[in-house]
């Protein structure tokens, strides 16, 4: 770095007397011998002095006195501070992390019991007849389940990608992205991708397998991001999504599925099969 560049680099601190002795000596000795830097320094100093003439209009004291009341009213309007919800909101806001984890675990257990009872319990003939499900649906059940998992995987991945792509660090604060949550879901989806790839053995399902693999790479990158402030890494992930045309692939998949679905007069399992055979 040239002495002039070094000198100009110090201007921002010099005008506010924040240089240490060594920096101050360097700056003073340099502008004594460099006319260009001396002139630059003096002109910038004069500019800042003109800018100090600026007067910021001061709101009246009544404005400041009523500031909190006005804010509290706005918060109430948004139903964030109403008496009924305050305790709930406060509990939600300040609850420790383990409380959320316990609640999530309980929810999963309840969901598991419910699914186990309704889907995997031994079927009773009378009940089956009452449900009047077509026999073909039972025959195709493994495919249907796999298809739903694949669809679910693609849909959830799409949401993660859209959240990241639409995130603009210049206009939104990085906390709005809620990266830890997105990373948690990405990790879950990466595990799911391994299962799905194993389930696709046929070569005629190449497109679906490629899409799942592409998504897996991107999700892995998201899961490994160091922080929501690592804008360069986030940009790289966005570029990866763009380069691989992933969103386009998802749209094509959706489109194929919807058009093939319309062609059929009966619903699944034929629709599911067509999706799997892409």
């Amino acid at each position: 770095m040239s002495d002039c560049k070094k000198c100009q680099d110090l201007f921002g601190e010099a005008f506010y007397e924040e240089l240490n002795d060594e920096q101050k000596n360097f700056l003073e000795s340099h502008i004594r011998v460099c006319e260009g830097c001396e002139s630059e320094y003096n002109e910038m100093d004069s500019t800042l002095k003109v800018m100090e003439k600026r007067i910021r209009p001061e709101p009246e004291q009544a404005y400041w006195n009523g500031y909190w009341d006005k804010l509290a009213r706005k918060m109430e309007d948004e139903k964030t501070l109403t008496p009924k919800t305050e305790s709930w909101w406060r509990a939600f806001t300040f609850a420790p992390k383990w409380a959320f984890q316990t609640a999530a675990a309980l929810l999963l257990v309840v969901l598991g019991i419910y699914l186990g009872k309704t889907i995997f319990s031994p079927s009773i003939p009378g009940v089956q007849q009452a449900r009047q499900l077509p026999t073909v649906a039972f025959k195709a059940e493994p495919n249907v389940e796999f298809t739903q998992r694949a669809q679910n995987y693609i849909e959830r991945s799409k949401l993660i990608l859209l959240a990241l792509i639409n995130f603009d660090p210049e206009t939104e604060d990085s906390y709005a992205l809620d990266l830890p949550h997105q990373q948690q879901i990405s990790r879950e989806l990466v595990s799911e991708a391994s299962f799905l790839k194993q389930g696709i053995a046929d070569s005629d399902q190449r497109r679906l397998r490629d899409l799942i693999a592409d998504l897996e790479v991107i999700l892995l990158q998201i899961a490994n991001l160091e922080s929501e402030h690592d804008f360069e890494a986030i940009e790289l992930v966005k570029e990866g999504v763009d380069r691989r045309g992933i969103l386009l692939q998802i749209h094509v998949t959706d489109f194929r599925q919807s058009t093939k679905g319309k062609d059929k007069t009966t619903p699944s399992p034929t629709v599911s099969d067509s999706f799997l055979n892409m």
């Binding site: 201007f11 921002g12 003439k53 209009p57 806001t93």
Partner: protein
């Protein structure tokens, strides 16, 4: 101050109902002025400052306790102000005539007292107008850096933390902003009659 801030944050998170109000009281003026410096409009500054506190309250659960809450607050303020400018950029800005018709007495209390010379008042108003216009000609990001440094006394390190950029970038943005202001206000810089002292 940093310790005080941490105590206040701990109180907010422990559920102390008065702590958030204290937090607002402590930072309301700073946030208002940053918003005013960036937007250049009192009404916008009022809206932005209130919106910032609402956003902070809503997002408290995402705040990492080891981070500096004031930096987070400034970051939200700068982003909200720039965002507002972007939204307004499609609408026509106030013309110079509008500014001239603005109520000087309201904006600059005391400037219209009878004891003062009307010519001096007009000259003062003109300088204010030119400075405001010059500031609005600087890009929002450069302006944010300049006003945080020059009017809100934040250090380069703090600004870098708020904007999540390097200190070198902050220095460069400040330098560019000052150069642009110099160009816009060159008339005053070459005018020996203008008082530019720090009095």
């Amino acid at each position: 101050m940093v310790q005080d801030e941490q105590v206040l944050v701990d109180r907010i998170f422990s559920g102390d109902s008065t702590a958030f109000q204290e937090f607002v009281e402590r930072y309301k003026k700073k946030i208002y002025y940053i918003a005013y410096d960036i937007t250049g409009d009192q009404d916008d500054a009022e809206d932005v400052s209130q919106e910032v506190f609402i956003k902070v309250f809503r997002s408290l659960k995402t705040f990492r306790r080891n981070a500096k809450i004031s930096s987070w607050l400034y970051q939200i303020s700068v982003n909200a102000s720039i965002d507002l400018l972007r939204k307004k950029s499609s609408k026509p800005e106030k013309s110079v005539d509008d500014l001239e018709r603005a109520d000087i007495q309201e904006n600059f209390p005391g400037s219209g007292t009878r004891a003062q010379n009307p010519e001096r008042i007009a000259e003062g108003f003109l300088i204010q107008k030119h400075i405001s216009q010059a500031l609005q000609k600087v890009s929002p990001k450069e302006r944010s850096v300049f006003v945080m440094r020059h009017y809100n006394e934040l250090k380069i390190r703090e600004i870098a933390e708020i904007l999540k950029v390097s200190q070198g970038t902050v220095k460069a943005l400040f330098y560019r902003a000052t150069r642009k202001l110099r160009k816009e206000l060159s008339f005053y810089l070459g005018n020996p009659g203008l008082e530019v002292s720090n009095e």
